[in-house]
C-alpha cells in the first residue's frame, strides 16, 4: 500500500518567501536488487530542524549520503538551494556531516580537526585561529585544542565532530544518528544542546534517527520513512495527533487501531456495529474499509464524550503519573492511560465493566491494516 507523501503547508506566522534549502525530486537509490530509497520527494526549508525518522534499514542513511554526495541517486534530482548537485563530489557541496562514528582524524589535534575544513577552503590564516577557538567555545571544549581525539570522552568527541562540521558555516548540516553511541543521560543533554545551537546559528539541520522521542524533542518537521518512502511529513504534533498511515500511528507512540467501514461523511461503523464519530477532514475522502485510531491518553473511563465503547478491564498497571489499563471490547483490545490527578482516587480493577469514551476530535482515521503488514 503506497501512500503519497502529503507535504503540509508552511508553518503559520511565517513571513517573507519560503526559502528551500534542500529539495529531492523523485529520488531512487538501488543497490543491486535492494531498493534503499524509493521515488522520494521532499523539501526542507531554510533554518529548519528537520528529522528523518524511521526503523532500521528504511533508507535514512542512504538519503543523507545522497544529499552529502557520498552516494549518487539511481534516478531523480537533488537540489541544494537552486543548484542541482547530482554528480558533484562531496567537497563541492555546501553541506557538512556529523558522522555517527564521529570519524575524527586520529592523527590530528582537536584544533587541527576543527580547522580541517577551513584550511581546505583556503581560509585566511589570521582569522582561522579565532574561528576555530570560537567554535570550540561554542561546543564547550575550550582548552582541549591540543589534545588528540582518543584523549576525549565519547561525548566530547561528539562535540568536536559537531564543531568541525559547523565551523565551515555550511548551508545544511547533516547528522546521522549523532547521539547513537551516547548513554541515555548524555543523549538527553545533547538533544537539548543541539537544539539550542541550531536555534542560535540558524543553519538547516537534517537529523537522522530511529528514536521517535528524539525526533519529537528536537525537530520542527519530521519525515517518517518506511521502506524507502516517506509515509508522512509534518510537525511533531501533526504526526502524533493526525497520523495518516497505520505505520506512522504505530511508530510514534502507542495507538489503538480499530477496524471499521466508512458509513457517512463523519461516521465510521466498527465491526461490532458501534458508530464512531470522527472529524470530517480526518476521513480525507476515504471510503470502504479503514481503521479508527485513538491515543491511549485521549480515552476516558468515566464517560462524557461523544464516542463510547463498552468493555471489560483485563489488566491495570500503576505507572506513577498515570495508570495503564488494558480493556477488552467488542472491537478489540484497547490501551488506556488515565492520569492520576487526585491522590488516592479509586481506579478500575481487572474484571470491572466500564464504558470508554472519547471525543470525535481526538479520533484519527488511517487506511485499513488488513491485508498489509
Amino acid at each position: 500500500m503506497a501512500v503519497e507523501p502529503r507535504v503540509a503547508p508552511a508553518p503559520a506566522g511565517q513571513t517573507g518567501p519560503r526559502i528551500v534549502d534542500v529539495r529531492l525530486e523523485g529520488v531512487t537509490k538501488r543497490f543491486d536488487d535492494v531498493v534503499a530509497v524509493d521515488d522520494l520527494s521532499l523539501e526542507i526549508e531554510q533554518g529548519s530542524f528537520f528529522a528523518l525518522l524511521g526503523p532500521s534499514g528504511c533508507g535514512k542513511t542512504t538519503t543523507l549520503r545522497m544529499i552529502g554526495g557520498f552516494e549518487e541517486p539511481t534516478s531523480g534530482t537533488i537540489f541544494l538551494g537552486d543548484r542541482d548537485v547530482v554528480g558533484l563530489p562531496p567537497y563541492r557541496r555546501d553541506v557538512n556531516t556529523v558522522f555517527q562514528s564521529y570519524a575524527l582524524f586520529p592523527h590530528l589535534s582537536i584544533f587541527e580537526n576543527v580547522a580541517f575544513g577551513l584550511r581546505r577552503q583556503g581560509a585566511e590564516r589570521k582569522g582561522l585561529r579565532g574561528r576555530v577557538l570560537e567554535m570550540l567555545h561554542l561546543v564547550e571544549l575550550e582548552g582541549m585544542e591540543r589534545r588528540k581525539p582518543r584523549q576525549l570522552s565519547g561525548g566530547q568527541q561528539q562535540r568536536v565532530a559537531l564543531a568541525r562540521a559547523l565551523v565551515c558555516s555550511p548551508r545544511v548540516l547533516l547528522l546521522d544518528e549523532p547521539l547513537g553511541a551516547l548513554d541515555l543521560k548524555l543523549r538527553k543533554q545533547m538533544q537539548l544542546f543541539l537544539k539550542r545551537i541550531q536555534h542560535d546559528i540558524g543553519i538547516t539541520f537534517i537529523h537522522v534517527t530511529h528514536d521517535q522521542e528524539e525526533a519529537m524533542t528536537m525537530a520542527d518537521r519530521i519525515a517518517v520513512m518506511n521502506k524507502g518512502r516517506i509515509d508522512q511529513l509534518g510537525s511533531p504534533d501533526e504526526l502524533y495527533e493526525r497520523p495518516e498511515t497505520p505505520f506512522v500511528a504505530g511508530f510514534l507512540g502507542v495507538s489503538n487501531l480499530l477496524p471499521g467501514t466508512v458509513a457517512g461523511a463523519d461516521v465510521v461503523r466498527l465491526d461490532d456495529g458501534t458508530q464512531v464519530h470522527v472529524a470530517a477532514e480526518a476521513l480525507q475522502g476515504r471510503t470502504g474499509r479503514v481503521a479508527v485510531g485513538i491515543r491511549p491518553e485521549k480515552i476516558r473511563i468515566d464517560g462524557g464524550d461523544a464516542n463510547t465503547l463498552p468493555g471489560t478491564v483485563s489488566e491495570s498497571a500503576y505507572v506513577g503519573v498515570a495508570t495503564q489499563y488494558i480493556v477488552e471490547t467488542g472491537s478489540g483490545r484497547l490501551t488506556v492511560y488515565v492520569q492520576n490527578v487526585r491522590p488516592g482516587a479509586e481506579g478500575a480493577a481487572p474484571g470491572d465493566r466500564l464504558t470508554l469514551s472519547w471525543s470525535p476530535d481526538a479520533t484519527f482515521v488511517v487506511d485499513s491494516t488488513e491485508g498489509s503488514a
Binding site: G68, P89, P90, Y91, S101, A103, H107, A165, C168
Partner: protein, 285 residues
C-alpha cells in the same frame, strides 16, 4: 601453580624468557664472537689471535669505502623504487580489492615461493643482452645500440627492488587496510579533494607502514650480495660481496668481521637519520 600465584609479578618475565634466551644464544653470543674476531690479527695459515687490531676497521673503511657507499646508495634507490611501486598496488588492494584482497596479496607474495637465487637468475634472463627488454629498449632508442642492462648498476638496483618488494608492499598494505574509509569520506565532506584527502589523511595514517616497509627493505638490501653478484659487474659490487668473499673464499675473518660492523654502524646511522626526518611524533602520536 602455587609459586606463580604468590609471585604474579614474575609472569611477564617468564613469558619473555624463551625469546630472551633465543636472542641471547643465537644473536648476542655470535655478535660478541664476531666483535672479538674483528679485533684479531694473523693469517689462516698461522692462525688468528686476539690483539685489539683496530687497524682492521681503518683498513675496511680505507680500502672499501666505495663499496660501502655503493651499498647504501643501491639499497636507498631500491627502497625508494620499491616504495613508489608498492604504494599504489597496496593502496589499490586495500581500498579496491574487495573480495579479491587475499588472492591479490597472494600474488604479491608469490615470487617468494621460488628461491631467492632462482628469482635473481630469472632476471639475468630478462635483462640479457639479446632479451626482449633490451631489444625493445634498443628499438625505442632508449638504449644506444651497444647499450646493455646486464652487468650494470641499473640491473643490480632493479634486482634488489624486485626481490624486496613484498617486504615493502605487505606492511604498506596492512597500514592502509586499517584506515577507516569513513575518515576519507569525512575529509571529502570537509572540502578536501580526492588528492588533498589522500595527502592529509590517508598518507599520514599510512606512515607507520611506510616506515616499517622502508626499514624491512633497506636494512637487508644494504647487506645484499646476490643481486650484485648475478646481475652486476665487479664495478657494481657491494660491501656484501666483499664480506662474502673475505669470509668464504679468502678466509680473512678479521677483515670480514670488521666490515660487518662498519656496515652495521652505517645502517644504524642511516636509519636514525631517517627516523628523525620522518618524525617519531608522527609515528607514535
Amino acid at each position: 601453580m602455587g609459586f606463580l600465584h604468590r609471585h604474579r609479578g614474575l609472569t611477564p618475565y617468564l613469558l619473555l624468557a624463551p625469546g630472551v634466551v633465543w636472542l641471547g644464544l643465537f644473536f648476542l653470543v655470535p655478535l660478541g664472537f664476531l666483535a672479538y674476531q674483528s679485533l684479531e690479527s694473523g693469517s689462516i695459515d698461522f692462525g688468528y689471535a686476539f690483539s685489539w687490531s683496530w687497524g682492521n676497521y681503518w683498513n675496511a673503511i680505507r680500502n672499501y669505502r666505495g663499496h660501502f657507499e655503493r651499498s647504501l646508495e643501491y639499497a636507498g634507490i631500491a627502497t625508494v623504487l620499491a616504495l613508489v611501486v608498492s604504494y599504489p598496488v597496496a593502496y589499490w588492494i586495500a581500498f579496491r580489492g574487495g573480495r579479491w584482497k587475499n588472492l591479490l596479496l597472494l600474488f604479491i607474495v608469490a615470487p617468494f615461493f621460488v628461491t631467492y637465487l632462482i628469482r635473481t637468475l630469472a632476471w639475468q634472463t630478462i635483462l640479457a643482452d639479446h632479451g626482449l627488454v633490451v631489444r625493445t629498449l634498443h628499438h625505442l632508442h632508449v638504449l644506444g645500440s651497444t647499450g646493455r642492462l646486464l652487468n650494470t648498476a641499473t640491473a643490480v638496483v632493479a634486482g634488489i627492488t624486485y626481490n624486496f618488494l613484498p617486504f615493502m608492499a605487505l606492511p604498506l598494505y596492512v597500514s592502509l587496510e586499517q584506515i577507516d574509509g569513513r575518515l576519507i569520506e569525512a575529509a571529502e565532506d570537509l572540502y578536501a579533494s580526492r588528492w588533498k584527502a589522500f595527502l592529509r589523511v590517508t598518507l599520514p595514517l599510512s606512515l607507520p607502514g611506510v616506515v616499517a616497509g622502508t626499514l624491512l627493505t633497506f636494512i637487508p638490501a644494504a647487506g645484499d650480495f646476490i643481486n650484485a653478484q648475478l646481475l652486476g659487474s665487479p664495478t657494481n659490487h657491494m660491501i656484501g660481496n666483499v664480506i662474502q668473499s673475505k669470509f668464504l673464499e679468502l678466509t680473512d675473518y678479521p677483515a670480514a668481521a670488521s666490515m660487518s660492523f662498519v656496515l652495521m654502524a652505517a645502517i644504524i646511522v642511516a636509519v636514525l637519520a631517517y627516523a628523525r626526518a620522518v618524525g617519531t611524533e608522527q609515528l607514535t602520536g
